[in-house]
Symmetry: C3
Subunit: 144 residues, 3 copies
């Protein structure tokens, strides 16, 4: 069995952003020497997501607006006026923990013939919901 383990550091200079990590993951498949197997790619922080969808900026703006409707940013601590109990810890990022549940923590992708086995428009992204600091993505590949 072959394995590859790699942590990718991210530092997004704003609160929220969608960033492609697709080509880095492709390069790691090559580096792994795995012909047939599975790749796990996950955010190591609980206010960020890894997801697969379209590489299209309009859609990304749509997601951002949509997530803000489903789980609005609010630094307040009173749920009755839009805030979150979590923010009583001194954080203001409770919305980020919610948004990440919609977009997901991880993706698992097949490796076939030494390449990511993806559909024509599948593209791998990191979604930062509480940036302006260093955070990590984990890539783990196993196979033969």
């Amino acid at each position: 069995m072959k394995t590859l383990t790699k942590e990718i550091w991210m530092e997004i200079p704003k609160r929220r952003a969608i960033v492609s990590i697709h080509h880095q993951i492709e390069q790691l498949v090559t580096e792994s020497g795995i012909s047939d197997g599975l790749a796990l790619i996950n955010a190591m922080h609980i206010t960020a997501s890894v997801f697969i969808n379209d590489n299209e900026s309009g859609l990304h703006a749509d997601y951002d607006r949509w997530l803000e409707q489903l789980a609005p940013f609010d630094p307040g601590t009173d749920p009755d006026s839009g805030g979150y109990l979590h923010n009583r810890t001194g954080e203001d990022n409770a919305d980020a923990h919610h948004k990440r549940q919609i977009m997901g923590r991880e993706v698992v992708v097949a490796i076939t013939n030494g390449r990511l086995h993806l559909g024509p428009w599948e593209h791998i992204f990191y979604y930062e919901f509480d940036g302006n600091r260093r955070k990590r993505i984990l890539v783990k590949m196993i196979g033969e």
Copy 2:
């Protein structure tokens, strides 16, 4: 290590539908000869989902109505009147890209003793959000 790689073609003759792929996946486990391992089943298109839930038509109708509330179909391109920026590409399927994030891209299922290792009511489905064309599901199994 044993592996199985299979693309399943789907062509759903309407825009949205939930279709069981459970028995096909069961047959592929047998075909793989894997006794112990993991199976990844994912939509290869970014306007569809693979998910596990109840094989009950009332629930499926509930999901459809619920997803329409969370991310309504709207061919428009003006977010201020319910549309999506993504539809400026000429598509009308921005809602489908949103619905798929709720239902998920993939499932990972254990294989034990040569069979899918599932709970009593777990059933594997494909959820089409933008049909009337040929699309694929990927099945990748690894184990021994």
Copy 3:
């Protein structure tokens, strides 16, 4: 290849609750003897989730309130007045099947150097949406 297969029984004495299963999963990694691989942890029942997020009680209360907004409990069977078609089966748990789609069925976690490979705040939880009965979680680990 080494594998570990374990079903964990849960019995939550109320309808909804978030329960840590983190230390049990850590112990199973040790028991597996796997140094490098993947761990799948999934709810075996379709009205429950396994997810990774913060071990903070305020956030957990926020999630509960939020999910109740997105998919309210209603034993009724008339969608026009807040009910669900699924409840025509005699169940009253249609909301639980919806909440679980937001929080997810499963997590896949890397194993590196014989330990769960997680970020600093990642913590593994079981989320019960329809308790007061015995249900199972499946843990499947593969690697070497």
